[in-house]
């Protein structure tokens, strides 16, 4: 319906579609977490998924790299359907970086070892090469001086930046962020958002589940509003935040105190 019209205003729609969701359904027992989600993510785009808790944003993200298996519909990544078999799925996961709300750094490894782990174990790089790459990635997120620190000796914001570096070290084609700042102290949220903003400016394709409306508005190229397992509205941030087409979007944003 409105999809055709909207995509005309989509700045980066010229880029190849990296992820394509069609009619995605996910159930947990009798509960339908996703009830038919359609969404496209183009190369170089930052797509923000917003909406109330439990609306299915994180579930869609977790279905994207097969941490959860869908119960219906299709997810295509770079033109191929997401495989269900373990081995091809692993190869596909290695091309998607994921950042978790709770960081999930490996507590028994230093920051450098955390970042080197993927290249070492999955990409089978030599230890020296993995460490060189890890050092470069830590420098990129501004933590060159924390290489030898264990996660327990880092602040939440620093841990999340290491987690971003860990995902980047795999040289992914897309980065998936699952509420990357929700577990952070207010004063460290900014440093994480800044790293994400720089990534976006460099042209990284990103899917971001977030409650940071300012980030979605300033950095997002496309925003999808979730409610009870559906996307109730999607469009460029100007539309979503300034002139939302649906009552549901307006309600959600006004609950957050977003003036619009």
């Amino acid at each position: 319906m409105a999809n055709v019209e909207i995509s005309a205003t989509r700045a980066k729609s010229a880029g190849a579609k990296i992820i394509r969701y069609r009619g995605v359904i996910k159930r947990y027992g009798a509960f339908e977490a996703l009830r038919g989600v359609d969404l496209d993510v183009h190369a170089g785009e930052v797509v923000c998924l917003i909406g109330p808790s439990g609306s299915g944003k994180s579930t869609l993200l977790r279905c994207t790299n097969g941490l959860e298996m869908t119960d219906g519909g299709e997810i295509e990544f770079e033109g191929a359907l997401l495989p269900r078999d373990e081995k091809p799925l692993r190869l596909m996961r290695a091309r998607m970086g994921m950042v978790f709300q709770s960081f999930e750094l490996f507590p028994h490894l230093t920051a450098l070892e955390n970042v080197a782990e993927g290249p070492r174990t999955v990409l089978r790089k030599s230890l020296a090469e993995a460490k060189t790459r890890a050092a470069a990635m830590l420098a990129k997120v501004g933590l060159a001086d924390k290489e030898a620190n264990y996660p327990s000796a880092l602040s939440g914001g620093q841990q999340q930046r290491v987690a971003i570096a860990r995902a980047l070290a795999m040289e992914p084609d897309v980065m998936l962020f699952d509420e990357p700042t929700s577990a952070l102290d207010p004063e460290t949220i900014g440093e994480v958002l800044n790293v994400m903003k720089v990534l976006a400016e460099e042209g990284m394709t990103m899917v971001v589940v977030t409650h940071e409306m300012t980030f979605a508005r300033r950095v997002g190229d496309w925003v999808a509003v979730f409610d009870t397992g559906r996307i109730v509205e999607q469009g460029p941030p100007q539309q979503i935040f300034d002139a939302p087409l649906t009552e549901r979007t307006r309600d959600f944003l006004s609950h957050l105190g977003w003036a619009g």
């Binding site: 790299n65 941490l67 373990e86 692993r90 190869l91 996961r93 290695a94 998607m96 970086g97 994921m98 978790f100 709770s102 999930e104 750094l105 490996f106 507590p107 028994h108 782990e117 993927g118 174990t121 999955v122 264990y150 996660p151 327990s152 987690a163 860990r166 995902a167 795999m170």
Partner: protein, 219 residues
């Protein structure tokens, strides 16, 4: 009372050799029971149904049998079942390893279960297989977390090696009892034996405590 401590000194060579055997038995048992315990724990957690059931049966069997019974069983029944005739030392080692592996398997299982699900997801999101996630992420953390339990198992094991004296393994308890029987110096030999066990056991416990502090993972 008439005490003669010279009996300890006169038999020092035999006692030192026997102490060496006790230490060697402890180390060898753990060297077998730690990797085997990890394997059994993983089978109990992740293996295909019947294999999992077999692993559970093994653990529950050996955890609930008196060790001394297992030692006798290994000595009298194992050769008949397998056709192998092992030395008393190898038999004792097998019995100890069977017992301690069962305990370690439970310890490792608890340790693996205590690692957050998100850790496996983070590993899998990088593209690791389940086996790689286990090997690189879960087991190293689980091992650190259960070190205190392994430490007390170690110290128990060091003392429990004395049970293989019943099948004439020439470890410390057996040799001390032999000397006692020949010299009739009961109090001296039992005291000497107690002193050796305690003096060796205490630093081991402290050492493992130190390792635990050294490699402790804080979150």
């Amino acid at each position: 009372m008439n005490l003669d401590w010279s009996v300890v000194w006169l038999n020092r060579d035999a006692l030192i050799a026997a102490t060496g055997t006790t230490i060697m038995l402890t180390i060898a048992t753990m060297a077998i029971a730690v990797p085997c315990g990890i394997v059994v724990a993983i089978l109990r957690l992740y293996a295909w149904g019947p294999v999992r059931a077999a692993a559970t049966f093994y653990v529950e069997l050996f955890r609930n049998l008196p060790l001394i019974l297992v030692v006798f069983w290994a000595f009298y029944v194992l050769p008949i079942l397998t056709g192998l005739s092992l030395s008393p030392l190898a038999t004792g080692l097998a019995a100890l390893a069977l017992n301690v592996t069962a305990y370690n398997a439970e310890t490792f299982r608890a340790g693996i279960n205590s690692i957050r699900r998100g850790q496996v997801e983070a590993a899998m999101a990088l593209g690791m297989s389940r086996a790689q996630a286990l090997r690189r992420v879960i087991v190293p953390q689980a091992v650190r977390r259960i070190l205190p339990v392994l430490a007390s198992t170690w110290v128990s094991l060091f003392k429990d090696t004395s049970l293989v004296s019943v099948i004439a393994v020439t470890e410390l308890a057996y040799v001390a009892m032999q000397i006692r029987a020949q010299s009739f110096r009961v109090l001296e030999m039992l005291t000497a034996m107690a002193a050796i066990y305690w003096l060796l056991g205490y630093p081991q416990a402290k050492l493992v405590d130190w390792i635990q502090r050294r490699y402790n993972v804080t979150e």
